[in-house]
């Protein structure tokens, strides 16, 4: 079973904090891979807030091609956080080239586009580069989005953290999702490694998604650029979060109503019963049927956790509102390692109806039950 750990903090922190927590939970995962999502970046990227950052792994030729590709379209690199490890990689990790995060000043044409168009163009660019890389093997792109860095690698999280020197200041971030282990159901593939990302939304999951094929087919038929790839059966969780919030305009507290709607009995006395039962019907194809825990981060920096009632061991949320730091962890020991001196009585394990949300201000854990009246939908 994968181990998940997410941190959200008012001040940027080192991603190694999350890696350390994964390491504490090591018993439960095989150390076969690690994925990191960083947003709310500190350091040099903080000044470059609106500029899309391209993150991925490139060979020298690949990097050259990326520069060419971007230059052809009039985008200029503003700042690059490059890392080319010189040491011998840890056991099981291939030697790949440069791990880069390149912040771009986008072309004037791009900036003239309306927001939705800009977003679409970024997704398209990422997909084009990814496709090119899949052919040549020179380029691997995980994200292209403002204030977002993604790092993925095969191997033990701790060893990778040290190998890639993830402690660097340029990688410090306010919102961090980290997952240990490669995917299980399919062949080893970096794209299949959690967390997944689309247009500012990132989620990671542990558990099982037995409805993968129907959901994948459904999402693909929605005509949304970026609903593709699907190297892992839980990539769809991210896209459902995207679909629900961006395409349907639902609040994230409604996410759970989409993936695991209430049954008739639970819904019976609900003030928004009509809306919810309609939503359940029309989103029937997006119901995730399987034990799972989802942790995700939204474009505004809020973080959430939701889990299915079939999940045997639920994740936990806890933190220190005074210091402004909260963590979402699949195991309590991870939480203890990252925020040892928190008020443990305030820890919260969201149960089958709950979604735990921590806003970007990191003040409190918002506990939403599916039985609550719906929050205002955007």
């Amino acid at each position: 079973m994968c181990r998940l750990f997410a941190l959200t903090s008012r001040e940027p922190v080192s991603p190694m904090l999350a890696i350390d927590a994964l390491n504490v939970m090591k018993e439960g995962h095989d150390g076969s891979g690690v994925g990191l999502f960083l947003s709310g970046l500190g350091g040099p990227f903080e000044e470059l807030k609106g500029h899309p950052i391209l993150s991925g792994i490139f060979t020298d030729a690949g990097l050259k091609r990326v520069y060419e590709y971007m230059a052809e379209r009039g985008h200029r690199a503003q700042y690059s956080a490059m890392f080319k490890p010189e040491t011998v990689p840890p056991v099981g990790t291939p030697k790949r080239g440069t791990y880069a995060s390149l912040a771009y000043k986008m072309s004037d044409e791009w900036r003239a586009l309306p927001k939705a168009e800009q977003d679409r163009a970024l997704v398209q660019m990422r997909l084009d580069l990814r496709a090119e890389g899949e052919e040549s093997g020179e380029i691997m792109v995980f994200s292209l989005w403002p204030d977002t860095i993604m790092i993925k690698e095969v191997g033990d999280p701790m060893a990778i953290g040290e190998y890639l020197k993830l402690d660097r200041e340029e990688l410090h971030a306010r919102h961090i999702l980290a997952q240990g282990r490669q995917n299980t159901n399919y062949a080893i593939n970096l794209y299949a490694c959690h967390p997944f990302f689309i247009e500012g939304i990132s989620t990671m999951t542990n558990g099982e998604n037995t409805a993968f094929i129907p959901i994948k087919e459904y999402l693909q038929s929605r005509g949304v650029t970026g609903y593709q790839g699907y190297q892992s059966d839980s990539e769809v969780f991210t896209h459902i979060a995207h679909f629900a919030t961006k395409k349907l305009g639902l609040d994230i507290s409604s996410y759970k109503h989409v993936i695991t709607p209430m049954n008739d009995e639970e819904m019976a006395g609900h003030p928004d019963r009509e809306f919810l039962s309609n939503l359940k019907k029309s989103c029937r194809k997006l119901i995730i049927d399987g034990p799972n825990c989802v942790i995700g981060c939204l474009p505004d920096g809020s973080m959430f956790m939701a889990q299915d009632r079939k999940k045997l061991r639920p994740g936990v949320v806890g933190g220190d509102p005074k210091k402004g730091i909260f963590a979402f962890s699949s195991e309590i020991c991870g939480l203890n390692a990252a925020i040892p001196d928190r008020d443990k009585t305030q820890d919260f394990q969201p149960m089958h109806l709950d979604t735990a949300i921590v806003g970007p201000d990191c003040r409190e854990v918002l506990k939403c039950s599916q039985k609550d009246p719906l929050r205002l939908q955007r």
């Binding site: 079973m1 299980t184 159901n185 542990n206 558990g207 099982e208 037995t210 409805a211 993968f212 094929i213 129907p214 087919e217 459904y218 693909q220 038929s221 929605r222 005509g223 679909f243 395409k247 349907l248 305009g249 695991t260 709607p261 049954n263 009509e274 809306f275 309609n278 939503l279 019907k281 029309s282 989103c283 029937r284 194809k285 119901i287 049927d289 399987g290 034990p291 079939k310 045997l312």
Partner: protein, 544 residues
């Protein structure tokens, strides 16, 4: 055979009959029950004459000849009275002195079945014992990251939607704007398919209705039953039970008058309206209610004279083309109930199913599509239609589901699959396979007769005399002397029994796949088959 009996080209010996009667002189009590119960008069009481030669010991005494007569059972060899293997004779025989036996090498009757220039018509099933659905395996078992669910203890929600479901975008828009929304019913995914009042005996029909009502009201299983063409008894139309019924209207419009007259007095809306364009077992042909069964009651409900054959004609003047029919009929049927009732067409699976579906996708009132594969069949039709016409359901359904996926409408138009489900008794496995191939629900007809009323028919052309009003079990007869054999209460009990066991079996399939709260519609990665061509065609896994 008498010495002077003429031997013509169509004369058959007993050996030529596929079903032969084995009668045991030693155990027979000569009660005569078998001959009285035989639905086709295949056996009759016979007087046999026997010559005995007695040769005494010694050289002088001459042998003598003695004649005796005895009584017994004689099987007729006239093709019109050929034994159908129903074994009713055995069922009534106190000593098991008589039983039919199948002779697979006796094929001559097949060539003699058509007499007087008339093609053979029969009721029942397609005489083919293969079943593709039975070969499909469920291969995606949750073992890896989490243990499988507990079929006995987890909460399951085995429900499906019948009706046009709006896309999430439109649903939310419609909700905010308070717009008209197509009606949607949440029902149990196993529907009793259209078997008409007329084809079935009143007792059978009543039994089914009672079973369905019990399942709904006592077992909390929203099971629905389709009437088939031929109308619905007026009292049922005006009762609260009509909500468990899908009313069918078809090319013949039989019984429709009755329904229209009842509309103003209906207490409840029916569950849905099914417009029948074709049945899988007799595509492009429709049912054939032969005159034997058109008695006073049936004639009255259908609004026709008594004692005339009633073929459901394939088309009617009002159905000019499928496009027009789909548009017009769906709209007018919806209108009849103030757009509160889902209306959907039922077609035979055919090479043009996709075209029909394409029409429906663009019709905002279309509530679904029922596709009926070649394998079904409960009613009467021509032999040739039943055995040789039609398209198998699995690939047809799969094509339709994939077309919906391309159009992004896979949750919007439910596909209802029928034809050959549970043909060999594997109802839950077959239904689950079809659901995973893309059906939102499945419908059964024959299985209900077999399980609910003990129909004797088989894929080996056993019984299958449903069309001539002599159904030995009273399932498809309109003769009160025969149908009173069937106790409606018992039918209802059996219906409830098999639904409950179906439900258990379905959980046994779904739980290991990790599904408990939504039907695994289109979960094709769970399916595997050991035939490469089939796997490629259905886009499922090839496993050996």
């Amino acid at each position: 055979m008498l010495a002077e009996r003429p031997i013509t080209p169509s004369t058959l010996s007993r050996k030529d009959l596929p079903w032969q009667i084995k009668w045991d002189i030693n155990t027979c009590t000569k009660c005569g029950r078998c001959t009285s119960v035989c639905p086709v008069n295949a056996i009759e009481l016979g007087v046999f004459r026997k010559r005995d030669i007695k040769a005494p010991m010694g050289l002088s005494a001459k042998p003598t000849t003695e004649f005796s007569t005895f009584y017994g059972i004689r099987q007729r060899t006239d093709p019109a009275y050929a034994c159908i293997g129903c074994a009713m004779c055995n069922m009534v025989c106190p000593n098991n002195a008589i039983e039919p036996q199948r002779q697979d090498d006796s094929t001559t009757l097949q060539f003699q079945n058509n007499r007087g220039g008339q093609s053979r018509t029969r009721g029942g099933r397609r005489n083919n014992s293969e079943s593709l659905l039975d070969q499909i395996k469920f291969i995606r078992i949750s073992m890896l990251t989490d243990p499988a669910l507990d079929a006995g203890r987890h909460e399951f929600e085995i429900r499906t939607l019948l009706g046009r479901v709006l896309s999430p975008e439109n649903e939310i828009k419609c909700f905010h704007e308070n717009g008209w929304k197509p009606p949607v019913r949440e029902i149990y995914p196993l529907v009793i398919g259209g078997m008409s009042f007329g084809a079935l005996s009143p007792n059978m029909w009543e039994g089914l209705q009672m079973g369905v009502a019990y399942l709904n009201e006592e077992m909390n299983m929203p099971v629905r039953m389709c009437t088939g063409e031929g109308g619905c008894p007026p009292r049922l139309l005006r009762s609260r039970f009509i909500k468990y019924v899908i009313l069918q209207i078809a090319s013949g419009y039989f019984g429709w008058d009755e329904i229209i007259h009842a509309i103003p007095e209906m207490k409840e809306d029916p569950c849905a309206i099914e417009i029948k364009y074709g049945q899988g077992a007799k595509p492009g042909d429709g049912g054939l209610l032969m005159w034997h069964k058109v008695n006073n009651l049936i004639a009255a409900i259908r609004g026709v004279p008594k004692g005339v054959s009633l073929p459901s004609p394939p088309t009617h003047q009002t159905k000019y083309s499928i496009e027009e029919a789909v548009a017009k009929m769906i709209q007018s049927m919806s209108m009849a109930w103030g757009f509160r009732v889902p209306v959907y067409p039922k077609i035979s699976a055919s090479s043009t199913s996709l075209a029909v579906l394409n029409n429906l996708v663009r019709n905002p009132y279309a509530a679904g599509l029922a596709i009926d594969g070649e394998d079904g069949g409960t009613g009467a039709a021509y032999n040739v239609s039943m055995n040789h016409m039609g398209h198998p359901i699995a690939s047809n359904l799969r094509d339709c589901y994939k077309a919906l996926c391309v159009a992004g409408a896979q949750n919007e138009i439910p596909l209802i699959a029928g034809g050959g489900i549970g043909k060999h008794g594997n109802l839950a496995a077959n239904a689950a396979a079809l659901i995973m191939l893309g059906a939102s629900m499945v419908q059964i007809g024959k299985y209900v007769m077999q399980a609910g009323a003990g129909c004797l028919g088989s894929e080996k052309d056993r019984c299958n005399v449903c069309n001539i009003g002599v159904c030995p079990k009273g399932i498809t007869s309109q003769d009160p002397r025969i149908y009173r054999r069937l106790d409606p209460e018992k039918v209802a009990e059996r219906v409830v029994d098999f639904y409950l066991s179906f439900d258990t079996e379905l959980r046994k399939v779904f739980a290991p796949l990790g599904r408990s709260t939504s039907l695994p519609i289109g979960m094709s990665d769970a399916l595997g088959i050991s035939d490469k061509d089939v796997a490629d065609r259905l886009d499922i896994k090839y496993v050996i």
